[in-house]
């Protein structure tokens, strides 16, 4: 225990004294958040939404459209399809909804033209509208009205880009911090013979690995707390879900990427090759993992790949909890997938990474 305690303290000291690690763990993501938050601060407060009716609407449909008009984040434009399509192409609309004249649950469908240039806004608009449709359907089928509360939350919440960005950025930062700090550190240790020197002592390698894992889980929590605080204080972001759940997701995500970090440590034989491996894996996830763009805005084939990436589960569950107040049960699919990924990656790490020299 003394060994583990001392090694953990040492790992914290090394982390804090490593300027590069500190920069990429804290300053860079904060910088990114501030810049992206400021840029989108105003433009994202209202979404331009187009509504197209190809025939005179029924009473039911009319009422529904009135409902849409009440949504405070929407700037509604009504027009004919060709005009609205043109506006969408000119980036004047986030999304255009083509609504059937007679809105009946089941057979009728609402066609959505989403602007791929404004994925966050279009995704949010689709979310809100589908929420309203569900409510309408429930009302029509005589269902109880207690779902209204949930719907009101969605409606009352001004979903700005920063709201969308924050969970993604938290997820991304966890990934970057764990993969890079673990891989750089352990490959340096391996290359310089430090690991070999350490196994010349009676210390168990697992103790050393564990101390580094503990430190990174701690940093994950601190990192997440700092980003959320900044977003809440300076950008007025509202965190709807449970902080405990956010912490749990952060730790699960961190464990998953720690496995990946150690796997890379095993594969990379020199420090120079660490960024090659790490970027090969992390870079695609940076764009496909739902950090900056909603994966729903991807072409189907790409979305089918993107939705199984470890980062996607982390950023998705984080976003569901932060912006929608999802419960554990609602994100359990993401949780299971993350546990699965963590197991796979830890097994991979066990297979590739070893304190001993490769030669034997």
């Amino acid at each position: 225990m003394f060994t583990l305690w001392k090694l953990t303290v040492v790992a914290i000291k090394m982390f804090v004294r490593n300027k590069q690690a500190m920069y990429f763990t804290f300053f860079f993501p904060i910088f990114l958040m501030v810049v992206l938050g400021l840029i989108n601060f105003d433009s994202a407060t209202k979404f331009d939404v187009g509504i197209v009716l190809n025939a005179p609407p029924s009473a039911q449909t009319k009422q529904f459209i009135e409902g849409i008009k009440q949504v405070p984040v929407f700037e509604i434009h009504e027009g004919i399809e060709s005009e609205e399509r043109k506006a969408l192409q000119d980036d004047k609309r986030a999304a255009v909804f083509i609504i059937p004249a007679d809105l009946i649950p089941g057979p009728s469908e609402i066609k959505v033209l989403a602007n791929a240039n404004e994925p966050a806004e279009s995704a949010a608009a689709v979310n809100i509208i589908s929420g309203m449709l569900d409510k309408t359907a429930l009302t029509l089928s005589g269902g109880a009205n207690h779902f209204t509360v949930n719907k009101e939350e969605i409606n009352s919440h001004h979903l700005k880009y920063i709201d969308f960005l924050l969970p993604g950025l938290v997820a991304l930062s966890i990934m970057q911090m764990t993969i890079f700090t673990v891989a750089f550190l352990f490959v340096t240790f391996k290359e310089k013979g430090i690991l070999k020197r350490m196994i010349a002592t009676p210390m168990r390698p697992s103790t050393f690995v564990l101390s580094n894992v503990i430190v990174r889980l701690l940093i994950t929590l601190i990192q997440t707390a700092i980003f959320i605080s900044i977003a809440v204080i300076f950008f007025n972001v509202q965190i709807i879900g449970s902080y405990w759940l956010i912490a749990l997701i952060a730790i699960l995500g961190s464990l998953m990427f720690l496995g990946l970090g150690f796997a890379i440590s095993g594969m990379a034989s020199t420090v120079e090759s660490v960024p090659v491996f790490a970027n090969l894996i992390a870079f695609p996830m940076l764009f496909l993992g739902g950090t900056f763009f909603a994966i729903e805005s991807f072409p189907t084939w790409l979305m089918n790949i993107a939705k199984y990436l470890p980062l996607t589960f982390l950023s998705h569950s984080m976003r569901e909890v932060m912006t929608k107040g999802a419960s554990f049960a609602q994100i359990s699919t993401d949780i299971w997938w993350m546990i699965g990924w963590a197991i796979i990656l830890v097994i991979l790490a066990n297979w590739t990474f070893s304190f001993e020299e490769k030669r034997q």
């Binding site: 001392k6 040492v10 020197r197 002592t201």
Partner: protein, 308 residues
């Protein structure tokens, strides 16, 4: 009493490494309290031998015991009894020397007086420095300090002075001698003859994965076939036949007033030579004695030089 026993130790690397046999069936013992040297050229198998005894490398066949513990079975016990300096060891970045020694202490689950250890290796004024700020000699002294954190019974040093300047080497030799005087057994590898001669009580000479000689340093230097040569100048010529008749002399060469005798018994040859010169009334000037070195021993044993 033997603190290390090595029996038929063998290390064979698998096909990826070319099926190389790095250490081939070697046996030796190291006595408690001695400085034991493994001498040989690069690639002879010195480091592999050391690392098998230290429990760092797997043993293909044979056995090694340290203080009665089987190295391959009680690996952790063995590791707690030894101090190890590897050929090239770095330490964590971002920690100063005191913190590094305390960390190493923790690896043995013990608290250490880091300052006292630094004092022992004369690095106390560097206590707050980082390892990368040290000179080559200081780095080696520090890694010896790190090897001493657990007050080991046996200290293993793998080529401790390679790459150091002469002054730093001498410092390190003194340090090693001091540590040995305090009762620690020292096992070191080297490819420097002078180092082995100065430090070691006994030497195992290794070449191509085998031990080709193992004896005390003095005995190795008396190996049959090694000869001492005696050079001198004279004021009047000496009779070559008389010189050849001197006890121990194996050959005589002369040029002008310079003579060179080779002998396998230098004490007897010298006393006879002095007697001869006195009787002949010849004055010997600038007499030099060239005793065999381990370099000669190695050449004699292997037929090739150490640096080939």
């Amino acid at each position: 009493m033997a603190i290390i026993e090595v029996k038929n130790l063998k290390k064979k690397y698998g096909p990826p490494a070319g099926g190389l046999t790095a250490v081939d069936n070697i046996s030796f013992e190291v006595n408690e309290g001695e400085v034991f040297g493994i001498l040989g050229p690069n690639g002879a198998g010195k480091t592999t031998t050391l690392e098998m005894i230290e429990g760092l490398k797997g043993i293909t066949s044979g056995q090694a015991f340290l203080d009665g513990h089987d190295v391959s079975k009680d690996t952790r016990t063995v590791k707690s009894l030894i101090g190890v300096q590897l050929q090239s060891s770095s330490f964590f970045e971002g920690l100063n020397l005191l913190e590094l020694l305390e960390t190493f202490g923790a690896l043995y689950n013990r608290k250490v007086d880091a300052m006292e250890l630094l004092r022992e290796v004369q690095l106390e004024e560097k206590a707050k420095s980082q390892h990368k700020e040290l000179s080559g000699g200081q780095k080696q002294r520090f890694s010896i300090a790190a090897a001493l954190v657990n007050d080991p019974k046996v200290l293993f040093l793998d080529e401790p002075t390679t790459g150091l300047d002469p002054q730093a080497r001498r410092n390190l030799w003194e340090l090693i001698t001091e540590i040995n005087k305090k009762g620690k057994t020292v096992v070191l590898t080297t490819h420097y003859m002078d180092e082995a001669e100065i430090l070691c009580d006994r030497i195992a000479v290794m070449d191509h994965a085998h031990i080709i000689a193992l004896d005390t340093t003095q005995n190795l230097l008396k190996l049959p076939g090694l000869s001492t040569s005696i050079h001198f100048l004279v004021d009047k010529p000496l009779d070559i036949e008389q010189l050849k008749a001197i006890t121990g002399v194996t050959s005589v060469q002369s040029e002008d007033h310079t003579y060179r005798l080779t002998t396998d018994n230098s004490e007897a040859t010298l006393s006879d030579l002095f007697k001869l010169s006195r009787e002949a009334g010849v004055k010997l000037v600038d007499l030099q004695l060239h005793q065999p070195t381990l370099e000669d021993v190695f050449l004699k044993l292997t037929g090739h030089g150490l640096r080939d």
